[in-house]
Amino acid sequence: MDELFLRTSAEFLREFYTKIDEAVSRLDESQIWARPNAASNSIGNLLLHLAGNVRQHIISGCGGVADVRTRSQEFAATEGLPKAELLARLKQTVDEACDVLANLDPNALLERRVIQNNEVVLLRDIYHVVEHFSYHTGQIVMRSKELTAKGFGWYKHLEGT
């Protein structure tokens, strides 16, 4: 299971990224940093937040690279990089994380490590990243659908199953 868990986690991260890429690519630059209201995050904020979470928990927490995350900046940003750059950075982060997962010793999955100031079992922390990525993917997809009034047709293949 251990290797299967790592491989499955990477596959799901890549799948979620693909959905984000499609959802964000159809938006214009002004829609990326627009907030629905003062209490809500923009898509730009969520892209920064996902990259920060993946880097902190997998690339640093599992891979041992120094943790340089400043989480509050992810939500404070009101403007910044264009969508192509945001997507490229998130993709780069997901690719690096998948490399870390591919090279992680499965015996380490039950180790306890301190990540984001919490002592966590690595297996649960990796799964947290996948689940967290899914959560915010849902938000980005929803916002993209609302802004463009267009669906995605991702589940058409299930019609034949």
Binding site: V121, R124, V130
Partner: protein, 154 residues
């Protein structure tokens, strides 16, 4: 790894229950959120039908339930999936299920893929309900897996 999968089922039920409790209090988001809730709460039933070899073709992906019905669905999904996993031999994750698609082609699912899929499908849509809360000026409910795990010292 059976224990890990049962954790996912427990987290799923916990997250859905606390979210449903909030929906029952907040009428401003309840109507649209219940539609989303009904959708993702139907996924575990769909996959149970498939792994049990039952008729899944007419599965209703967008049922609209009231709060009491959603609560019953949460309990039912938790119980049936936990029982299903408990009866399954180890290694659970490698167990596969053969089914056919509508063209009659054989296809195979692994338990690890099914559980990871529907657990994340629920998270995807709980995230959307959080957006509805924010849009209504409400604080979203924290349903993350890591919060659930840390609260239990795991």
């Amino acid at each position: 790894m059976k224990a890990y999968f049962i954790e996912l089922i427990a987290h799923e039920a916990w997250a859905n229950r606390i979210l449903l409790e909030a929906l029952a209090r907040e009428s401003s988001v309840a109507e649209r959120a219940r539609v989303v809730f009904g959708h993702f709460c139907s996924a575990p039933d769909y996959w149970l039908k498939r792994v049990r070899g039952e008729n899944f073709r007419e599965h209703n992906w967008w049922p609209v339930f009231d709060v009491a019905e959603l609560s019953a669905r949460i309990d039912h999904s938790e119980q049936t999936w936990r029982d299903f996993l408990n009866r399954m031999p180890e290694p659970v994750e490698l167990q596969t299920f053969e089914t056919v698609n509508q063209r009659g082609d054989k296809i195979t699912f692994r338990v690890v893929d099914i559980l990871t899929q529907f657990h994340n499908h629920s998270s995807h849509h709980r995230g959307q309900i959080a957006v509805l809360f924010r849009a209504a000026g409400l604080e979203p409910i924290k349903t993350d897996f890591i919060n659930w795990a840390l609260e239990r010292g795991r």
